[in-house]
Amino acid sequence: MSISTESERAGPVGGGARPPRAPRERSGIPPLLLAPAGIGLVFLIIPLVGLMVRAPWTELPDQLGREIVRDALARSMYTASMATLLSLLLGVPIAVVLAHGRFRGRGLVRALVTVPLVLPPVVGGVALFAALGRRGVIGQHVHDWTGYSLPFTTNAVIIAETFVAMPFLIIAVEGALRGADPRFTEAASTLGATRWYAFRRVTLPQVMPGIAAGAVLCWARALGEFGATVTFAGSLEGRTMVMPSAVYRELEAGHPDTAIALSLVLMVISVVVLASLREHWISPGRTR
């Protein structure tokens, strides 16, 4: 069952003789929390409503027909998803190290991991140049040896988004890992499970809600990221332009309505994607 103080109400299953009355649900939410939750939701949703009121709805179909918009939209989806994938691959391990590792300076490492969140976005882009640009600490060697240069490519978009969004995933997953019950991992180890196997089969399923939450944060942040991306990857039509840079471009070109229309497109698509991720993706299998 998913709610704590909620009473289950169940009839016989299979035996059709006595049909159970329709269950009347009771939520497990303390009523005292309903007021702030309501205020908070209004606060978050009213601006979106305001935006919709101002949006040039008639313009929308035209906008969606524009090659450049469709291209930027597709690139946004692709890069944000790749960034999320990359963040999962690298970020979950980091979260494990932060949650379960015992080493001096762990607090410092955790704080460093959050720096990309704090860095003003354009400076984040500058930092990426400093590391991976043609003149960067690592980038210059790569460029000297292979001639490859990362900035201003689609991969650069992914890298910039990953840099900015991965910390969200890491911190969320670390929080979940610290809340996980270690008794099950102990049991797994006495059953011969290596730390890796126990992690995969016991710990991961337990913290799945936290990982799902982290992935959602990461994806959404990557989708909306602007400053670091536009600095490190530029906004070249057909190559590195993503939705936020398309929006910026329209604003600069003096078409705020178009900018709002494009933002709405981005917003609606992300809502659809996130809402259609089945609930049970982020629900646990708890007890005993």
Binding site: F129, R135, T231, P256
Partner: protein, 257 residues
């Protein structure tokens, strides 16, 4: 050497048939005019594609200094161009190719009943200006000092578009922006009011070919092209003034287009 620049399909052995790509990094306020000029340049130079990277001048300067594969830089302020040339990334002389003049921008209907630059000293009005570090802000400060007016801004924005956004949203009663911004603003949302003191501070836009240009010849040609009369006409239509022009703006209010 940038022969194998990842951005550009690596040089083929048949240069004659090669499609060449000219990379222009240009200030965001040039978006409309330069897009049009790019098409023109392409039709004048078969086989050439002009690709733009529009952004704020500061960001573009940073990108160029970080080794971005740019051929030409068109900046909205002398300071950002200097950042690039001081780093030794310019090629040849940077030239002023257009100027931009300040104008009062008010929301449609002029709710604050602003009619003069002196209204900027009115505490009761919501006023937006550019930051003193931004070209439009520096120009405004210079102008106010010369006109002996103490403005009472409610916000000072890092760039002019941020200022314009607030006028469009009706959140301020008046702001100082460029004439070009008023022209580019969304139809019917912003009204421009020109004023005499705008002569006191006019902003220069500079353009330069770049040292690391992959196609130095094309870069030079593009810089020259921008200074041709044909190009200047397009820029004028967008509200810019020619570098030589010193006469004051027409005193009539210029409606948003």
């Amino acid at each position: 050497n940038d022969d194998d620049d990842a951005l550009v399909p690596s040089g083929s052995s048949t240069p004659a048939a090669e499609r060449r790509e000219l990379m222009v990094f240009a200030a965001a306020s040039l978006t409309g005019a330069f897009t049009e000029l790019g098409k023109k340049f392409e039709s004048d130079h078969p086989g050439v594609t002009v690709r733009f990277n529009f952004g704020s001048s500061g960001t573009l300067a940073t990108q160029i200094n970080e080794g971005a594969p740019a051929d030409v830089f068109a900046s909205a302020s002398p300071a950002t161009m200097t950042t690039v040339t001081d780093a030794g990334n310019g090629a040849g002389e940077a030239v002023t190719f257009v100027k931009n003049r300040l104008e009062i921008a008010v929301p449609a209907g002029n709710p604050g009943e602003v009619d003069d630059i002196e209204d900027f000293a009115d505490d009761g009005l919501d006023i937006a200006l550019c930051a003193d570090t931004a070209p439009c802000g520096a120009a405004a400060d210079k102008m106010f000092a010369a006109a002996n007016i103490t403005p009472k801004p409610d916000t000072r924005e890092a760039d002019v578009k941020a200022v314009l956004t607030k006028v469009e949203a009706g959140e301020v009663d008046a702001a100082l922006v460029y004439h070009t911004d008023v022209l580019s603003a969304a139809a019917g949302k912003v009204e421009g009011i020109s004023f005499e003191e705008s002569d006191l501070a006019i902003n220069d836009y500079l353009i330069s070919a770049l040292k690391d240009a992959k196609h130095a010849d094309l870069a030079t040609q593009f810089v020259e092209f921008i200074q041709t009369d044909a190009a200047q006409d397009v820029l004028k239509a967008a509200g810019f003034e020619s570098p030589g022009a010193t006469e004051s703006a027409s005193p009539s209010a210029s409606p948003a287009s």
